[in-house]
């Protein structure tokens, strides 16, 4: 059955013992798009991705990935999907070339040698192909992993926090590659904690405590949050921050660089509180909330911080 949805899952539930990691997630993702998967640690992002590509059995729910049933046709999904794990999971005691060769052989690619040569060339690692992959820096490891999981030209790419711990320049390069792959027709679902990365996605899905909280384009998510945001700048913001955080019902108070954002839905309350706490060395202006303001508010509404640091 062919479908124009790359991922079409409904009511996904995953329980580990008595703990529910994912609780009724629906995703309908069209082919060819780049979607961002956001949410705090332990919100169920990785678990959802693993269920989609057949690495975990679903406790309840159903769906298809690339037109294949996620419970019964995991093998077919795996053949047409590239999955990049959160932790580097290629072989450190094999060279860069040997890693790529293994993957190319496993997927039975024709012209294995040429395919690997091309991948190395594109990766810019041709001259280091005989180095052990474990000796690469974090950013290079991620690029090697991306090259390896895309070597069989999958239809769907699942990236689990691919840029965690990678320097800003390498992150930018990595995202340029993701967009190149997307232009070439790949569907990409990428989980991330970085807002600038989320803003480069066609749509974002926000999970918390295993529930999908919101989904849409960046602008839609910000609009849906229905927030009013004030931005305070000046030397006095640090003293103010503590005070503002203790005001009941005000909303969220968070730093952006050296500026302080106060976001909430009760505009009168915010104005009056800011007026009461006015200080000559702080200037306030109303700004359009950004994605992070929206997420901080979403997280606060989703209930206490239930992260577990795995």
């Amino acid at each position: 059955m062919s479908s124009d949805l790359a991922i079409d899952v409904r009511g996904l539930v995953k329980k580990f013992g008595t703990k529910t990691a994912v609780d009724g997630v629906d995703i309908q993702m069209p082919r060819g798009e780049v979607w961002g998967f956001l949410g705090p640690n332990g919100s169920g992002k990785t678990t959802t991705i693993r269920m989609i590509c057949g690495l975990l059995k679903v406790t309840a729910g159903q769906g298809q990935c690339l037109g294949y049933d996620i419970q019964r046709e995991a093998a077919r999904i795996k053949a047409e999907t590239g999955y990049m794990t959160q932790k580097y999971s290629f072989w450190s005691d094999m060279t860069i070339r040997e890693n790529l060769e293994f993957v190319a052989r496993l997927y039975g690619l024709p012209n294995m040698k040429r395919t690997v040569d091309e991948a190395l060339e594109k990766l810019g690692l041709a001259h280091r192909q005989k180095q052990l992959s474990g000796a690469l820096s974090g950013g290079w490891k991620q690029r090697l992993a991306l090259a390896a999981v895309t070597i069989h030209n999958p239809k769907l790419l699942l990236l689990d926090e691919p840029t965690a711990g990678v320097d800003p320049q390498a992150r930018r390069d990595f995202w340029d590659e993701i967009h190149d792959l997307s232009l070439a027709g790949m569907t990409v679902l990428v989980s991330t904690h970085y807002m600038d990365e989320a803003e480069r996605c066609d749509r974002i899905v926000y999970l918390a405590h295993g529930h999908k909280i919101v989904e849409g384009t960046v602008a839609e998510v910000i609009d849906q949050s229905d927030l009013i945001t004030f931005r305070g700048e000046g030397d006095g913001v640090r003293r103010l921050a503590h005070k503002l955080k203790s005001v009941e019902g005000l909303g969220s108070v968070a730093y952006f660089g050296s500026a302080l954002h106060v976001s909430g839905r009760n505009v009168d309350l915010i104005r009056s509180v800011l007026a009461q706490n006015s200080s000559p060395d702080v200037t306030w202006e109303e700004v359009r909330p950004n994605l992070e303001d929206a997420f901080i508010a979403l997280m606060a509404e989703a209930g206490g911080d239930a992260r577990q640091y795995e």
Binding site: R50, G54, L55, L56, K87, W91, V103
Partner: protein, 379 residues
């Protein structure tokens, strides 16, 4: 004084951390308790350096009171368990080659008549001397047992036979290893022991290494089936096993001068099945153990009875039944019968059918368990 206290506090901190981690690794904890118990039981009860109740075949060509006395003396000595009565002397070689019996005792026709005449008739004991430790006591005691038994029967007119040399002539044929060289038995056995130790360990690491290095998730996300994974992981080590076999057989020939009287292809067939059996077992361990450390412990836990109960170090027939039953499950037991059978006894494939099939059955069973235990998902 304070620095000593600080030092003690730090020792205490490390002590507590180790205790917590030791308790968390259940399998290690079980091994710490289990291995001493297993060793105690095996060394204490199973191993017998002076084996009795060895299976023997009896060929008697006449039935007289004196013959019956001799047979019952051998039986009541507890060294000889006559498990079969044969009338055809030509079968004795086959019985020994198969390893079904350790001895064939032959009392020829006319024995009693010749004895009475004082002609010193012969009693023949053909012993499987491929394992000198197993056979030497029983053979060594035979003369005394038989002489003592006859002494009661030789009364009245026959009493004069009791004087002087024994009235019969005990002829012992130590088959396969006439000089009773221990190395003839040990060196072929070592082939099995070395293959067991190295090959089980090497594949026991196979999956646990992927788990520990975090590469398992990557492998599972690729379209490779459990059976494909198992074969791919096992096959490189078949080559390792082949090289080890070559080296050991060469050493047996050149250094230890062990004879090789049988057919090479039968041994190679046995080695191949045995190597695959061990590799498959190691792979099964690696689907059970969660860490490489645990895989090592499982390997050791398997290796211990393999060495003690297979008949490698101690005579198999000398062990109590329960220990022999455990031994029958171990692939090394069957491989030892094959390797000793071929190298020392020139056994044919038909004679080695049982151990060959036993190895195949073991391999199949272990592979089924491995595929059953193999994690297809990260659950």
């Amino acid at each position: 004084m304070t620095s000593l206290l600080n030092s003690l506090r730090r020792i205490w901190a490390v002590f507590m951390k180790e205790t917590v981690q030791m308790r968390r690794d259940r399998l290690t904890f079980a091994m710490l308790g289990g291995i001493p118990i297993v060793q105690l039981v095996l060394f204490g009860f199973a191993i017998n350096m002076n084996p009795r109740h060895l299976p023997a075949a009896l060929i008697v060509e006449e039935q007289t009171p004196i013959v019956r006395t001799l047979v019952s003396a051998l039986t009541s000595s507890e060294y000889y368990d006559f498990v079969m009565l044969e009338s055809d002397p030509r079968k004795s070689g086959d019985l020994l080659a198969r390893g079904e019996v350790s001895f064939v005792v032959t009392i020829p026709a006319g024995f009693t008549r010749d004895l009475v005449r004082g002609d010193q008739p012969q009693i023949l004991i053909e012993a499987d001397a491929s394992d000198p430790a197993a056979s030497s006591n029983a053979v060594g005691q035979a003369q005394a047992i038989l002489t003592l038994a006859l002494r009661h029967d030789l009364k009245g007119p026959l009493a004069n036979l009791n004087a002087g040399p024994a009235p019969f002539d005990l002829v012992v044929h130590p088959m396969y290893n006439p000089e009773a060289k221990t190395s003839y038995n040990i060196v072929p056995g070592l082939l099995g022991v070395i293959l067991t130790m190295t090959l089980v360990m090497i594949t026991a690491m196979a999956m646990t290494r992927e788990t520990e290095q975090g590469t398992l998730e990557n492998l599972l996300a690729m379209p490779v089936l459990p059976g494909e994974m198992m074969l791919g992981k096992i096959l490189p080590y078949v080559l390792v096993g082949a090289i080890e076999t070559g080296v050991i057989l060469m050493a047996a020939r050149v250094i230890f001068d062990v004879p090789f009287v049988g057919q090479v292809w039968i041994l190679l067939l046995g080695v191949t099945i045995f190597v695959i059996a061990n590799l498959a077992l190691g792979f099964t361990f690696s689907t059970i153990a969660r860490t490489q450390m645990q895989a090592m412990q499982l390997t050791f836990f398997f290796f211990l009875p393999s060495i003690l109960l297979s008949g490698f170090m101690f005579p198999f027939r000398g062990m109590p039944d329960w220990a022999q039953n455990i031994g029958e499950v171990l692939p090394l037991t069957h491989f030892l019968r094959i390797v000793r059978g071929v190298m020392l006894k020139d056994a044919t494939l038909a004679q080695l059918q049982v151990p060959m099939l036993a190895l195949c059955a073991f391999t199949a069973a272990v592979m089924v368990i491995a595929l059953f235990r193999y994690r297809r998902t990260l659950d």
